[in-house]
Protein backbone atom coordinates (compact mmCIF):
# COMPACT_ATOMS: atom_id res chain seq x y z
CA UNK A 1 0.00 0.00 0.00
CA UNK A 2 1.45 3.35 -0.97
CA UNK A 3 1.59 6.36 1.30
CA UNK A 4 -1.01 8.22 -0.68
CA UNK A 5 -3.61 5.51 -0.35
CA UNK A 6 -2.83 5.17 3.35
CA UNK A 7 -3.60 8.86 3.73
CA UNK A 8 -6.76 8.53 1.72
CA UNK A 9 -7.86 5.58 3.85
CA UNK A 10 -7.31 7.78 6.90
CA UNK A 11 -9.58 10.35 5.34
CA UNK A 12 -12.05 7.65 4.44
CA UNK A 13 -12.00 6.39 8.01
CA UNK A 14 -12.70 9.92 9.24
CA UNK A 15 -15.53 10.22 6.75
CA UNK A 16 -16.97 6.87 7.78
CA UNK A 17 -16.89 7.43 11.53
CA UNK A 18 -17.66 11.13 11.90
CA UNK A 19 -19.23 12.71 8.86
CA UNK A 20 -21.48 9.98 7.51
CA UNK A 21 -23.31 9.21 10.79
CA UNK A 22 -23.63 12.95 11.43
CA UNK A 23 -25.29 13.42 8.08
CA UNK A 24 -27.61 10.47 8.65
CA UNK A 25 -28.48 11.63 12.19
CA UNK A 26 -29.06 15.19 11.00
CA UNK A 27 -31.43 13.98 8.30
CA UNK A 28 -33.29 11.77 10.79
CA UNK A 29 -33.47 14.59 13.33
CA UNK A 30 -34.81 17.02 10.74
CA UNK A 31 -37.37 14.45 9.63
CA UNK A 32 -38.54 13.93 13.22
CA UNK A 33 -38.67 17.66 13.88
CA UNK A 34 -40.62 18.15 10.66
CA UNK A 35 -43.06 15.43 11.65
CA UNK A 36 -43.57 16.11 15.38
CA UNK A 37 -42.23 19.61 15.99
CA UNK A 38 -39.10 20.73 17.85
CA UNK A 39 -38.54 19.30 21.30
CA UNK A 40 -35.59 19.23 23.73
CA UNK A 41 -36.50 15.68 24.48
CA UNK A 42 -35.34 14.56 21.01
CA UNK A 43 -31.93 16.02 21.74
CA UNK A 44 -31.91 14.13 25.04
CA UNK A 45 -32.65 10.85 23.26
CA UNK A 46 -29.96 11.52 20.65
CA UNK A 47 -27.37 12.25 23.35
CA UNK A 48 -28.34 9.08 25.15
CA UNK A 49 -28.02 7.19 21.87
CA UNK A 50 -24.45 8.40 21.45
CA UNK A 51 -23.50 7.13 24.89
CA UNK A 52 -25.15 3.80 24.18
CA UNK A 53 -23.18 3.58 20.94
CA UNK A 54 -19.97 3.81 22.98
CA UNK A 55 -21.20 1.12 25.39
CA UNK A 56 -22.48 -1.23 22.70
CA UNK A 57 -19.41 -1.01 20.49
CA UNK A 58 -17.03 -1.47 23.41
CA UNK A 59 -19.01 -4.47 24.64
CA UNK A 60 -18.90 -5.83 21.12
CA UNK A 61 -15.11 -5.78 21.26
CA UNK A 62 -15.27 -8.14 24.24
CA UNK A 63 -18.29 -10.28 23.35
CA UNK A 64 -18.40 -10.13 19.59
CA UNK A 65 -14.80 -9.85 18.44
CA UNK A 66 -12.88 -11.60 21.20
CA UNK A 67 -15.63 -14.14 21.89
CA UNK A 68 -15.59 -13.66 25.66
CA UNK A 69 -18.83 -13.25 27.49
CA UNK A 70 -18.98 -10.20 29.73
CA UNK A 71 -22.10 -9.46 31.72
CA UNK A 72 -20.49 -6.77 33.83
CA UNK A 73 -20.41 -3.84 31.45
CA UNK A 74 -22.60 -1.71 33.69
CA UNK A 75 -20.09 -2.31 36.48
CA UNK A 76 -17.27 -0.78 34.44
CA UNK A 77 -19.59 2.05 33.52
CA UNK A 78 -20.26 2.63 37.21
CA UNK A 79 -16.54 2.84 37.96
CA UNK A 80 -16.09 5.50 35.28
CA UNK A 81 -19.19 7.40 36.31
CA UNK A 82 -18.34 7.52 40.01
CA UNK A 83 -14.71 8.43 39.38
CA UNK A 84 -15.42 11.16 36.86
CA UNK A 85 -18.48 12.42 38.71
CA UNK A 86 -16.77 12.73 42.07
CA UNK A 87 -13.70 14.35 40.50
CA UNK A 88 -15.73 17.18 39.00
CA UNK A 89 -18.04 17.54 41.96
CA UNK A 90 -15.73 17.24 44.94
CA UNK A 91 -12.35 18.31 43.57
CA UNK A 92 -13.68 20.62 40.82
CA UNK A 93 -11.66 19.06 38.05
CA UNK A 94 -12.48 20.14 34.52
CA UNK A 95 -14.63 17.82 32.45
CA UNK A 96 -12.17 16.18 30.06
CA UNK A 97 -9.45 15.16 32.55
CA UNK A 98 -12.16 13.74 34.80
CA UNK A 99 -13.52 11.70 31.91
CA UNK A 100 -10.05 10.45 31.06
CA UNK A 101 -9.35 9.45 34.65
CA UNK A 102 -12.73 7.71 34.81
CA UNK A 103 -11.93 5.76 31.66
CA UNK A 104 -8.49 4.80 32.94
CA UNK A 105 -9.94 3.73 36.26
CA UNK A 106 -12.52 1.56 34.54
CA UNK A 107 -9.93 -0.05 32.31
CA UNK A 108 -7.76 -0.81 35.35
CA UNK A 109 -10.84 -2.42 36.86
CA UNK A 110 -11.15 -4.39 33.62
CA UNK A 111 -7.61 -5.68 33.98
CA UNK A 112 -8.24 -6.44 37.63
CA UNK A 113 -11.27 -8.55 36.74
CA UNK A 114 -9.68 -9.96 33.65
CA UNK A 115 -6.48 -11.34 35.09
CA UNK A 116 -7.98 -13.85 37.50
CA UNK A 117 -11.13 -14.70 35.58
CA UNK A 118 -10.02 -14.90 31.98
CA UNK A 119 -8.53 -18.33 32.43
CA UNK A 120 -12.12 -19.45 32.72
CA UNK A 121 -14.25 -20.73 29.91
CA UNK A 122 -17.12 -18.71 28.47
CA UNK A 123 -19.91 -19.57 30.84
CA UNK A 124 -17.88 -19.25 34.03
CA UNK A 125 -16.58 -15.95 32.76
CA UNK A 126 -20.12 -14.69 32.26
CA UNK A 127 -20.98 -15.40 35.88
CA UNK A 128 -17.69 -14.03 37.16
CA UNK A 129 -18.14 -10.73 35.30
CA UNK A 130 -21.74 -10.56 36.43
CA UNK A 131 -20.53 -11.13 39.97
CA UNK A 132 -17.95 -8.41 39.58
CA UNK A 133 -20.57 -5.95 38.34
CA UNK A 134 -22.75 -6.76 41.34
CA UNK A 135 -19.82 -6.43 43.76
CA UNK A 136 -19.11 -2.95 42.39
CA UNK A 137 -22.72 -1.99 42.84
CA UNK A 138 -22.81 -3.39 46.37
CA UNK A 139 -19.62 -1.57 47.28
CA UNK A 140 -21.24 1.64 46.10
CA UNK A 141 -24.37 0.89 48.10
CA UNK A 142 -22.23 0.17 51.16
CA UNK A 143 -19.92 3.12 50.51
CA UNK A 144 -21.31 5.24 53.33
CA UNK A 145 -20.61 2.41 55.76
CA UNK A 146 -17.06 1.68 54.65
CA UNK A 147 -15.58 5.13 54.98
CA UNK A 148 -16.55 6.77 51.70
CA UNK A 149 -19.26 8.95 53.19
CA UNK A 150 -19.28 11.44 50.33
CA UNK A 151 -20.60 8.80 47.90
CA UNK A 152 -23.82 8.70 49.97
CA UNK A 153 -24.31 4.95 49.57
CA UNK A 154 -27.76 3.94 48.36
CA UNK A 155 -28.98 7.56 48.18
CA UNK A 156 -26.65 8.54 45.38
CA UNK A 157 -24.79 11.79 44.68
CA UNK A 158 -26.78 14.67 43.26
CA UNK A 159 -25.90 18.05 41.81
CA UNK A 160 -23.18 17.13 39.34
CA UNK A 161 -22.53 19.85 36.81
CA UNK A 162 -24.13 19.21 33.45
CA UNK A 163 -21.14 19.12 31.13
CA UNK A 164 -22.33 16.50 28.68
CA UNK A 165 -23.94 18.02 25.64
CA UNK A 166 -24.89 16.34 22.40
CA UNK A 167 -21.69 17.65 20.86
CA UNK A 168 -19.48 16.02 23.49
CA UNK A 169 -21.37 12.76 23.35
CA UNK A 170 -21.24 12.66 19.57
CA UNK A 171 -17.56 13.55 19.41
CA UNK A 172 -16.61 10.91 21.96
CA UNK A 173 -18.84 8.28 20.34
CA UNK A 174 -17.12 9.01 17.04
CA UNK A 175 -13.68 8.77 18.62
CA UNK A 176 -14.61 5.51 20.33
CA UNK A 177 -15.90 3.88 17.17
CA UNK A 178 -12.88 5.12 15.27
CA UNK A 179 -10.38 3.81 17.82
CA UNK A 180 -12.21 0.50 18.11
CA UNK A 181 -12.34 0.06 14.33
CA UNK A 182 -8.64 0.73 14.02
CA UNK A 183 -7.89 -1.59 16.90
CA UNK A 184 -9.93 -4.41 15.42
CA UNK A 185 -8.20 -4.09 12.07
CA UNK A 186 -4.74 -3.97 13.65
CA UNK A 187 -2.50 -6.93 14.42
CA UNK A 188 -3.82 -7.03 17.96
CA UNK A 189 -7.40 -6.93 16.77
CA UNK A 190 -6.78 -9.82 14.40
CA UNK A 191 -5.31 -11.74 17.32
CA UNK A 192 -8.49 -11.06 19.32
CA UNK A 193 -10.62 -12.39 16.49
CA UNK A 194 -8.45 -15.49 16.30
CA UNK A 195 -9.12 -16.09 19.99
CA UNK A 196 -12.82 -16.01 19.23
CA UNK A 197 -12.56 -18.32 16.26
CA UNK A 198 -10.54 -21.05 17.92
CA UNK A 199 -8.68 -20.51 21.13
CA UNK A 200 -6.61 -23.67 20.92
CA UNK A 201 -5.61 -23.08 17.32
CA UNK A 202 -4.76 -19.44 18.09
CA UNK A 203 -2.53 -20.53 20.94
CA UNK A 204 -0.86 -23.08 18.68
CA UNK A 205 -0.12 -20.25 16.22
CA UNK A 206 1.68 -18.33 18.95
CA UNK A 207 -1.08 -15.93 19.99
CA UNK A 208 -0.89 -15.24 23.71
CA UNK A 209 -4.61 -15.74 24.26
CA UNK A 210 -4.74 -14.56 27.87
CA UNK A 211 -2.93 -11.37 26.97
CA UNK A 212 -5.38 -10.56 24.19
CA UNK A 213 -8.38 -11.39 26.32
CA UNK A 214 -7.11 -9.02 29.02
CA UNK A 215 -6.38 -6.42 26.36
CA UNK A 216 -9.92 -6.63 25.01
CA UNK A 217 -11.30 -6.37 28.53
CA UNK A 218 -9.09 -3.43 29.33
CA UNK A 219 -10.06 -1.47 26.22
CA UNK A 220 -13.74 -2.41 26.39
CA UNK A 221 -13.93 -1.48 30.07
CA UNK A 222 -12.13 1.79 29.41
CA UNK A 223 -14.70 2.91 26.88
CA UNK A 224 -17.49 1.77 29.17
CA UNK A 225 -15.94 3.99 31.85
CA UNK A 226 -15.81 6.89 29.41
CA UNK A 227 -19.49 6.44 28.63
CA UNK A 228 -20.15 6.20 32.36
CA UNK A 229 -18.47 9.56 32.91
CA UNK A 230 -20.54 11.10 30.14
CA UNK A 231 -23.66 9.55 31.61
CA UNK A 232 -22.96 10.97 35.10
CA UNK A 233 -22.52 14.49 33.73
CA UNK A 234 -25.60 14.07 31.60
CA UNK A 235 -28.09 12.91 34.24
CA UNK A 236 -26.28 15.05 36.87
CA UNK A 237 -26.76 12.15 39.23
CA UNK A 238 -24.76 9.19 40.48
CA UNK A 239 -26.96 6.38 41.70
CA UNK A 240 -26.14 2.69 42.17
CA UNK A 241 -29.40 1.59 40.58
CA UNK A 242 -28.37 3.17 37.26
CA UNK A 243 -25.71 0.48 36.89
CA UNK A 244 -27.44 -2.76 37.71
CA UNK A 245 -27.45 -6.10 35.94
CA UNK A 246 -30.38 -5.17 33.69
CA UNK A 247 -28.29 -2.32 32.26
CA UNK A 248 -25.62 -4.83 31.27
CA UNK A 249 -28.35 -6.88 29.63
CA UNK A 250 -29.50 -3.81 27.69
CA UNK A 251 -26.06 -3.45 26.13
CA UNK A 252 -25.87 -7.17 25.50
CA UNK A 253 -29.15 -6.94 23.60
CA UNK A 254 -27.72 -4.11 21.48
CA UNK A 255 -24.71 -6.23 20.60
CA UNK A 256 -26.79 -9.29 19.86
CA UNK A 257 -29.34 -7.44 17.76
CA UNK A 258 -26.66 -5.58 15.84
CA UNK A 259 -24.40 -8.53 15.34
CA UNK A 260 -21.64 -10.14 17.34
CA UNK A 261 -18.65 -8.81 15.48
CA UNK A 262 -20.22 -5.91 13.62
CA UNK A 263 -19.32 -2.47 14.98
CA UNK A 264 -21.59 -0.56 12.64
CA UNK A 265 -24.37 -3.06 13.19
CA UNK A 266 -24.34 -2.66 16.95
CA UNK A 267 -23.97 1.12 16.69
CA UNK A 268 -27.14 1.25 14.61
CA UNK A 269 -28.81 -1.18 17.00
CA UNK A 270 -27.78 1.03 19.94
CA UNK A 271 -29.46 4.08 18.39
CA UNK A 272 -32.50 2.09 17.34
CA UNK A 273 -32.99 0.42 20.73
CA UNK A 274 -32.47 3.68 22.64
CA UNK A 275 -35.25 5.29 20.64
CA UNK A 276 -37.36 2.15 20.98
CA UNK A 277 -36.90 2.24 24.77
CA UNK A 278 -38.05 5.83 24.90
CA UNK A 279 -41.11 5.07 22.82
CA UNK A 280 -42.07 2.22 25.14
CA UNK A 281 -40.98 3.99 28.32
CA UNK A 282 -44.38 3.79 29.97
CA UNK A 283 -44.87 0.08 29.36
CA UNK A 284 -41.83 -1.36 31.07
CA UNK A 285 -43.02 -4.97 31.25
CA UNK A 286 -44.09 -4.91 27.64
CA UNK A 287 -40.74 -3.52 26.57
CA UNK A 288 -38.86 -6.20 28.47
CA UNK A 289 -41.15 -8.92 27.11
CA UNK A 290 -40.46 -7.73 23.56
CA UNK A 291 -36.74 -7.56 24.37
CA UNK A 292 -36.74 -11.09 25.71
CA UNK A 293 -38.66 -12.52 22.78
CA UNK A 294 -36.41 -10.72 20.28
CA UNK A 295 -33.33 -12.02 22.06
CA UNK A 296 -34.54 -15.61 21.96
CA UNK A 297 -35.78 -15.47 18.37
CA UNK A 298 -32.60 -13.84 17.09
CA UNK A 299 -30.45 -16.39 18.89
CA UNK A 300 -32.52 -19.28 17.57
CA UNK A 301 -32.48 -18.10 13.98
CA UNK A 302 -29.17 -16.22 13.79
CA UNK A 303 -26.85 -17.15 16.66
CA UNK A 304 -24.23 -14.67 15.42
CA UNK A 305 -26.61 -11.70 15.66
CA UNK A 306 -28.63 -9.98 12.94
CA UNK A 307 -25.69 -8.70 10.91
CA UNK A 308 -23.27 -11.35 12.07
CA UNK A 309 -19.78 -10.25 11.15
CA UNK A 310 -20.84 -7.93 8.34
CA UNK A 311 -20.33 -4.20 8.55
CA UNK A 312 -22.65 -1.58 7.15
CA UNK A 313 -20.41 0.51 4.95
CA UNK A 314 -20.74 3.45 2.64
CA UNK A 315 -19.69 0.94 0.00
CA UNK A 316 -23.24 -0.32 0.03
CA UNK A 317 -24.42 3.04 -1.27
CA UNK A 318 -22.02 2.85 -4.20
CA UNK A 319 -24.41 0.53 -5.92
CA UNK A 320 -26.86 3.41 -6.10
CA UNK A 321 -24.46 5.27 -8.39
CA UNK A 322 -24.46 3.22 -11.62
CA UNK A 323 -20.97 3.95 -12.97
CA UNK A 324 -19.27 3.72 -9.58
CA UNK A 325 -20.99 0.44 -8.81
CA UNK A 326 -19.68 -1.16 -12.01
CA UNK A 327 -16.10 -0.07 -11.69
CA UNK A 328 -15.40 -0.52 -7.98
CA UNK A 329 -18.11 -2.83 -6.80
CA UNK A 330 -17.32 -4.53 -3.53
CA UNK A 331 -14.12 -2.62 -2.81
CA UNK A 332 -15.64 -1.02 0.26
CA UNK A 333 -16.61 -4.28 1.88
CA UNK A 334 -14.45 -5.88 4.43
CA UNK A 335 -16.68 -8.14 6.42
CA UNK A 336 -15.09 -10.45 8.93
CA UNK A 337 -15.26 -14.09 8.21
Amino acid sequence: MSNASARSSFAAGFLRTFIAPAVILAILYQAIVAAFGKNDYYMYVLTLSCMNVILATSLNLINGFTGQFSLGHAGFMAVGAYLAGSLTKFTHWPFVPALVVGAIGASLAGVLVGLPTLRLRGDYLAIATLGFGEIIRMLIIASDQIGLKFLEGPRGVMGITKYTSFGWAYLLAGISVWVLTNFIWSTHGRACVSVREDEVAAEAMGVNTTRYKVMAFCIGAGFAGLAGGLHAHFLQLLHPSSYDFLKSVDYLVMVVVGGMGSLTGCAVAAVFLTVFNEVLRRALELRMLIYAICLVIIMLTRPQGLLGGKEISLGAFKYLVPSYGRSRAGSGERGLT
Binding site: D123, A126, A128, L130, G131, E134, I135, M138, V249, P303
Partner: protein, 292 residues
Protein backbone atom coordinates in the same frame (compact mmCIF):
# COMPACT_ATOMS: atom_id res chain seq x y z
CA UNK B 1 -22.17 -19.39 71.42
CA UNK B 2 -25.95 -19.12 71.62
CA UNK B 3 -25.74 -16.51 68.94
CA UNK B 4 -23.67 -18.80 66.76
CA UNK B 5 -26.05 -21.75 67.13
CA UNK B 6 -28.94 -19.42 66.37
CA UNK B 7 -27.30 -18.31 63.13
CA UNK B 8 -26.42 -21.92 62.34
CA UNK B 9 -30.09 -22.85 62.47
CA UNK B 10 -31.11 -19.86 60.37
CA UNK B 11 -28.35 -20.64 57.91
CA UNK B 12 -29.33 -24.28 57.49
CA UNK B 13 -32.87 -23.55 56.36
CA UNK B 14 -31.64 -20.89 53.92
CA UNK B 15 -28.90 -23.24 52.77
CA UNK B 16 -31.39 -26.03 52.07
CA UNK B 17 -33.28 -23.72 49.74
CA UNK B 18 -30.09 -22.80 47.88
CA UNK B 19 -29.18 -26.47 47.76
CA UNK B 20 -32.46 -27.41 46.09
CA UNK B 21 -31.99 -24.75 43.41
CA UNK B 22 -28.32 -25.63 42.98
CA UNK B 23 -29.25 -29.26 42.29
CA UNK B 24 -31.19 -28.18 39.19
CA UNK B 25 -28.27 -26.08 37.94
CA UNK B 26 -25.81 -28.85 38.45
CA UNK B 27 -27.96 -31.55 36.83
CA UNK B 28 -28.66 -29.47 33.75
CA UNK B 29 -25.03 -28.43 33.48
CA UNK B 30 -23.90 -32.00 33.90
CA UNK B 31 -26.03 -33.13 30.99
CA UNK B 32 -26.13 -30.33 28.42
CA UNK B 33 -23.21 -28.14 29.61
CA UNK B 34 -25.47 -25.10 29.78
CA UNK B 35 -25.83 -22.60 32.59
CA UNK B 36 -29.57 -22.37 32.68
CA UNK B 37 -29.90 -18.71 33.60
CA UNK B 38 -33.65 -19.12 33.69
CA UNK B 39 -33.42 -21.65 36.51
CA UNK B 40 -33.70 -18.99 39.21
CA UNK B 41 -36.83 -17.73 37.49
CA UNK B 42 -38.33 -21.20 37.41
CA UNK B 43 -37.87 -21.16 41.19
CA UNK B 44 -39.73 -17.84 41.24
CA UNK B 45 -42.52 -19.22 39.04
CA UNK B 46 -42.71 -22.23 41.39
CA UNK B 47 -43.30 -19.88 44.31
CA UNK B 48 -46.02 -18.07 42.33
CA UNK B 49 -47.72 -21.34 41.40
CA UNK B 50 -47.71 -22.23 45.09
CA UNK B 51 -49.20 -18.82 45.86
CA UNK B 52 -51.95 -19.14 43.25
CA UNK B 53 -52.75 -22.71 44.30
CA UNK B 54 -53.08 -21.67 47.92
CA UNK B 55 -55.47 -18.93 46.88
CA UNK B 56 -57.56 -21.37 44.87
CA UNK B 57 -57.73 -24.37 47.19
CA UNK B 58 -56.75 -22.90 50.53
CA UNK B 59 -53.39 -22.92 52.34
CA UNK B 60 -52.51 -26.61 52.25
CA UNK B 61 -48.82 -27.35 52.07
CA UNK B 62 -48.55 -30.66 50.23
CA UNK B 63 -51.05 -29.99 47.41
CA UNK B 64 -49.39 -26.63 46.79
CA UNK B 65 -45.95 -28.23 46.78
CA UNK B 66 -46.95 -30.99 44.36
CA UNK B 67 -48.83 -28.70 41.97
CA UNK B 68 -45.94 -26.21 41.98
CA UNK B 69 -43.46 -28.99 41.25
CA UNK B 70 -45.58 -30.40 38.43
CA UNK B 71 -46.20 -26.96 36.94
CA UNK B 72 -42.55 -26.01 37.05
CA UNK B 73 -41.53 -29.35 35.53
CA UNK B 74 -43.84 -28.69 32.59
CA UNK B 75 -42.48 -25.17 32.25
CA UNK B 76 -38.90 -26.42 32.38
CA UNK B 77 -39.45 -29.02 29.69
CA UNK B 78 -41.27 -26.51 27.48
CA UNK B 79 -38.43 -24.01 27.79
CA UNK B 80 -35.92 -26.71 26.98
CA UNK B 81 -37.82 -27.80 23.87
CA UNK B 82 -38.44 -24.30 22.54
CA UNK B 83 -35.35 -22.38 23.51
CA UNK B 84 -32.44 -24.69 24.25
CA UNK B 85 -32.86 -27.78 22.09
CA UNK B 86 -32.34 -26.01 18.74
CA UNK B 87 -29.09 -24.56 20.10
CA UNK B 88 -27.59 -27.72 21.50
CA UNK B 89 -24.77 -27.68 18.96
CA UNK B 90 -24.49 -23.89 18.59
CA UNK B 91 -21.75 -21.88 20.32
CA UNK B 92 -22.19 -21.61 24.07
CA UNK B 93 -22.60 -17.87 23.98
CA UNK B 94 -25.75 -18.27 21.88
CA UNK B 95 -27.31 -20.69 24.34
CA UNK B 96 -26.31 -18.49 27.27
CA UNK B 97 -27.85 -15.42 25.65
CA UNK B 98 -31.05 -17.35 24.97
CA UNK B 99 -31.14 -18.40 28.61
CA UNK B 100 -30.87 -14.75 29.66
CA UNK B 101 -33.71 -13.96 27.25
CA UNK B 102 -35.90 -16.67 28.77
CA UNK B 103 -35.09 -15.37 32.23
CA UNK B 104 -36.12 -11.80 31.39
CA UNK B 105 -39.22 -13.15 29.69
CA UNK B 106 -40.37 -15.09 32.76
CA UNK B 107 -39.74 -12.17 35.13
CA UNK B 108 -41.67 -9.71 33.03
CA UNK B 109 -44.45 -12.13 32.20
CA UNK B 110 -45.06 -12.54 35.94
CA UNK B 111 -44.79 -8.78 36.43
CA UNK B 112 -47.28 -8.12 33.70
CA UNK B 113 -49.80 -10.89 34.27
CA UNK B 114 -49.71 -11.42 38.04
CA UNK B 115 -48.31 -8.44 39.89
CA UNK B 116 -45.19 -6.28 39.83
CA UNK B 117 -45.26 -5.83 43.62
CA UNK B 118 -44.30 -7.89 46.61
CA UNK B 119 -47.00 -10.39 47.50
CA UNK B 120 -47.53 -11.94 50.95
CA UNK B 121 -47.17 -15.70 50.77
CA UNK B 122 -50.10 -17.47 52.50
CA UNK B 123 -49.28 -19.16 55.77
CA UNK B 124 -49.47 -22.84 54.81
CA UNK B 125 -47.86 -24.13 57.98
CA UNK B 126 -48.76 -22.51 61.24
CA UNK B 127 -45.61 -21.11 62.78
CA UNK B 128 -44.92 -22.52 66.23
CA UNK B 129 -41.89 -20.95 67.91
CA UNK B 130 -39.68 -22.97 70.26
CA UNK B 131 -36.94 -21.96 72.61
CA UNK B 132 -34.15 -24.25 73.73
CA UNK B 133 -31.46 -22.74 76.00
CA UNK B 134 -31.87 -19.28 74.58
CA UNK B 135 -31.92 -20.40 70.93
CA UNK B 136 -35.23 -19.60 69.32
CA UNK B 137 -36.49 -21.38 66.25
CA UNK B 138 -39.80 -22.38 64.74
CA UNK B 139 -41.27 -25.58 63.35
CA UNK B 140 -40.79 -24.11 59.85
CA UNK B 141 -37.03 -24.19 60.36
CA UNK B 142 -37.32 -27.93 60.97
CA UNK B 143 -39.81 -28.69 58.19
CA UNK B 144 -37.84 -26.89 55.47
CA UNK B 145 -34.63 -28.94 55.94
CA UNK B 146 -36.66 -32.15 56.33
CA UNK B 147 -38.55 -31.65 53.07
CA UNK B 148 -35.31 -30.70 51.33
CA UNK B 149 -33.56 -33.76 52.70
CA UNK B 150 -36.41 -36.00 51.58
CA UNK B 151 -36.27 -34.56 48.05
CA UNK B 152 -32.51 -35.00 47.86
CA UNK B 153 -32.84 -38.64 48.97
CA UNK B 154 -35.51 -39.24 46.30
CA UNK B 155 -33.26 -37.58 43.73
CA UNK B 156 -30.24 -39.65 44.72
CA UNK B 157 -32.38 -42.79 44.52
CA UNK B 158 -33.58 -41.89 41.01
CA UNK B 159 -30.11 -41.04 39.78
CA UNK B 160 -28.31 -44.00 41.30
CA UNK B 161 -30.87 -46.80 41.35
CA UNK B 162 -33.25 -46.43 38.42
CA UNK B 163 -32.92 -46.93 34.70
CA UNK B 164 -33.50 -43.27 33.66
CA UNK B 165 -30.99 -42.31 36.32
CA UNK B 166 -28.40 -44.61 34.87
CA UNK B 167 -29.14 -43.21 31.41
CA UNK B 168 -28.66 -39.69 32.83
CA UNK B 169 -25.26 -40.57 34.19
CA UNK B 170 -24.36 -42.13 30.86
CA UNK B 171 -25.41 -38.99 28.94
CA UNK B 172 -23.44 -36.74 31.24
CA UNK B 173 -20.33 -38.86 30.71
CA UNK B 174 -20.54 -39.03 26.93
CA UNK B 175 -23.58 -37.97 25.00
CA UNK B 176 -22.68 -39.57 21.68
CA UNK B 177 -21.58 -42.82 23.18
CA UNK B 178 -24.79 -43.01 25.22
CA UNK B 179 -26.78 -42.47 22.05
CA UNK B 180 -24.93 -45.34 20.39
CA UNK B 181 -25.81 -47.54 23.35
CA UNK B 182 -29.49 -46.91 22.69
CA UNK B 183 -30.16 -44.11 25.17
CA UNK B 184 -32.79 -41.66 23.98
CA UNK B 185 -30.76 -38.52 24.71
CA UNK B 186 -33.57 -36.04 24.03
CA UNK B 187 -35.84 -37.83 26.47
CA UNK B 188 -33.15 -37.91 29.14
CA UNK B 189 -32.46 -34.19 28.71
CA UNK B 190 -36.19 -33.50 29.13
CA UNK B 191 -36.34 -35.66 32.26
CA UNK B 192 -33.36 -33.79 33.67
CA UNK B 193 -34.98 -30.43 33.04
CA UNK B 194 -38.25 -31.67 34.57
CA UNK B 195 -36.50 -32.92 37.70
CA UNK B 196 -34.33 -29.84 38.11
CA UNK B 197 -37.27 -27.50 37.62
CA UNK B 198 -39.47 -29.35 40.07
CA UNK B 199 -36.75 -29.16 42.73
CA UNK B 200 -36.49 -25.42 42.09
CA UNK B 201 -40.27 -25.08 42.47
CA UNK B 202 -40.12 -26.99 45.74
CA UNK B 203 -37.49 -24.51 46.89
CA UNK B 204 -39.84 -21.71 45.79
CA UNK B 205 -42.68 -23.00 47.94
CA UNK B 206 -40.34 -23.62 50.89
CA UNK B 207 -38.92 -20.12 50.68
CA UNK B 208 -42.47 -18.79 50.61
CA UNK B 209 -43.11 -20.58 53.88
CA UNK B 210 -39.85 -19.58 55.52
CA UNK B 211 -39.71 -15.96 54.29
CA UNK B 212 -43.33 -15.19 53.36
CA UNK B 213 -42.86 -12.53 50.70
CA UNK B 214 -42.52 -13.15 46.98
CA UNK B 215 -41.75 -10.85 44.04
CA UNK B 216 -40.95 -11.34 40.34
CA UNK B 217 -37.23 -10.69 40.81
CA UNK B 218 -36.73 -13.03 43.76
CA UNK B 219 -35.20 -15.61 41.44
CA UNK B 220 -32.36 -13.48 40.14
CA UNK B 221 -30.21 -13.27 43.23
CA UNK B 222 -31.28 -16.66 44.59
CA UNK B 223 -30.47 -18.24 41.22
CA UNK B 224 -27.03 -16.65 41.11
CA UNK B 225 -26.26 -17.74 44.64
CA UNK B 226 -27.44 -21.25 43.87
CA UNK B 227 -25.25 -21.27 40.80
CA UNK B 228 -22.28 -20.23 42.91
CA UNK B 229 -23.20 -23.06 45.29
CA UNK B 230 -23.13 -25.50 42.39
CA UNK B 231 -19.72 -24.21 41.30
CA UNK B 232 -18.49 -24.37 44.88
CA UNK B 233 -19.48 -28.01 45.20
CA UNK B 234 -18.17 -28.91 41.78
CA UNK B 235 -20.57 -28.33 38.93
CA UNK B 236 -22.17 -31.51 37.60
CA UNK B 237 -21.81 -33.30 40.93
CA UNK B 238 -25.09 -33.81 42.78
CA UNK B 239 -23.82 -34.18 46.39
CA UNK B 240 -21.52 -31.24 45.68
CA UNK B 241 -24.48 -28.98 44.90
CA UNK B 242 -26.23 -29.94 48.13
CA UNK B 243 -23.08 -29.31 50.12
CA UNK B 244 -22.35 -26.05 48.30
CA UNK B 245 -25.89 -24.81 48.90
CA UNK B 246 -25.68 -25.46 52.62
CA UNK B 247 -22.31 -23.75 52.78
CA UNK B 248 -23.65 -20.75 50.88
CA UNK B 249 -26.65 -20.37 53.20
CA UNK B 250 -24.45 -20.55 56.27
CA UNK B 251 -21.85 -18.18 54.86
CA UNK B 252 -24.49 -15.62 53.98
CA UNK B 253 -26.22 -15.70 57.34
CA UNK B 254 -22.91 -15.56 59.20
CA UNK B 255 -21.60 -12.68 57.10
CA UNK B 256 -24.77 -10.68 57.61
CA UNK B 257 -24.77 -11.31 61.33
CA UNK B 258 -21.10 -11.05 62.20
CA UNK B 259 -19.73 -8.64 59.58
CA UNK B 260 -22.19 -6.28 57.93
CA UNK B 261 -25.64 -6.63 56.42
CA UNK B 262 -24.43 -4.79 53.33
CA UNK B 263 -22.50 -7.93 52.38
CA UNK B 264 -25.61 -10.10 52.14
CA UNK B 265 -25.36 -10.53 48.39
CA UNK B 266 -21.67 -9.81 47.92
CA UNK B 267 -20.66 -12.92 49.90
CA UNK B 268 -21.75 -15.20 47.08
CA UNK B 269 -19.59 -13.47 44.49
CA UNK B 270 -16.60 -13.28 46.77
CA UNK B 271 -16.92 -17.04 47.32
CA UNK B 272 -17.24 -17.54 43.57
CA UNK B 273 -14.10 -15.60 42.79
CA UNK B 274 -12.15 -17.41 45.51
CA UNK B 275 -13.31 -20.81 44.25
CA UNK B 276 -12.49 -19.95 40.65
CA UNK B 277 -9.03 -18.82 41.67
CA UNK B 278 -8.17 -21.60 44.07
CA UNK B 279 -10.02 -24.68 42.90
CA UNK B 280 -12.10 -24.11 39.76
CA UNK B 281 -13.31 -27.71 39.73
CA UNK B 282 -15.08 -27.18 43.06
CA UNK B 283 -14.88 -28.88 46.44
CA UNK B 284 -15.77 -32.37 45.21
CA UNK B 285 -14.66 -32.00 41.60
CA UNK B 286 -11.71 -33.48 39.83
CA UNK B 287 -9.56 -31.53 37.42
CA UNK B 288 -10.34 -32.38 33.81
CA UNK B 289 -8.01 -31.04 31.15
CA UNK B 290 -9.61 -29.63 28.04
CA UNK B 291 -9.33 -31.75 24.95
CA UNK B 292 -8.91 -30.38 21.46
Amino acid sequence: MVEFVQQLINGISLGCIYALIALGYTMVYGIVRLINFAHGDIYMVGAYIGYLTAHRIGPHFFPALIIAMAGAATLGVTIEKIAYKPLRYAPRIAALTTAIGVSIFLENAVRKFISPNFLPFPEMIKRVPFEVRGVTFSNVQIIVPLVALLLVIVLQYIVLRTKPGRAMRAVSLDKDCARLMGVNVDKIVSITFAMGSSLAAAAGVLVGIAYPRIDPYMGVMAGLKAFVSAVLGGIGIIPGAALGGLFMGLAEVMAVHFINSAFKDAVAFVILIIVLLVKPSGLLGKYVSEKV
